[in-house]
Symmetry: C2
DNA sequence: ACAAAACACCTAGTATTACAAGGTATTAAA
DNA sequence: TTTAATACCTTGTAATACTAGGTGTTTTGT
């Protein structure tokens, strides 16, 4: 199988979607980076590479949508936990509105035919 | 208003989504470029710039998902009509499957909280 | 005891694509 | 007669997912 076009396409679809997914995940509880990848993989069947996540988390923080704190572990490497800021929550609400409209649009244009 | 982050985000979300929308539109009937912009604007409330559409149509054709033909007009500039190829139809079906899964994933991760 | 896998963070470089801002040319409306 | 609408196009820029690397610790398997 493995349609070359499709795999490029799914990668493009993820642009933007991943930040939406991450913010949604963080709206439920604070998470650290590595954990986020696991959560996304398990609850959405979407693969997110580490090389995607960490730069993304830096952007979200720089934009003021999240804040982070280091948490030492009794054993092992310290974890960097992320939380939604107030601005992050507001932005997430706007994103959800846009997404709902987009879903509807695509539902409409998808119906019938092929 | 005008959240800077949101407008950048919506632009990113469109990457990939626009090709999906265009292929869906073409699955109903053949259309020419300028018409596609109108159709998308009217039926989905999604803005697509000309500078986005024409390069996109070239990519889709190069990938073998569409074919095109020039149609002279009784008056005015000739129109370039696009049609889905067989491969285009197959690819579109795969895209629809992926999209359905994505919708579900996001629905799941969106539910509750903020 | 030792190797491999899993955990947990990170960066640099590449490919892709939406968009802004331009361009050409024709026809209809003001 | 000048503006808007129709219809095609291109160039350059910004943003982001991914590949492929890197560091170091802890747990699991043999």
């Amino acid at each position: 199988m493995k349609n070359e076009f499709i795999s490029k396409w799914t990668s493009q679809v993820k642009k933007g979607v991943l930040s939406f997914i991450v913010l949604n995940a963080l709206s439920k509880k604070e998470l650290y980076g590595y954990e986020l990848i696991e959560v996304v993989k398990k609850s959405t069947a979407i693969e997110m590479a580490e090389g995607t996540l960490y730069p993304l988390m830096n952007r979200l923080k720089k934009e003021g949508l999240t804040s982070s704190k280091w948490v030492e572990q009794p054993s092992g490497i310290p974890r960097k936990y992320y939380t939604l800021t107030q601005e992050g929550k507001l932005t997430l609400q706007q994103m959800r509105q846009y997404w709902a409209a987009l879903e509807l649009s695509i539902k409409k244009i998808t119906e019938n035919e092929i």
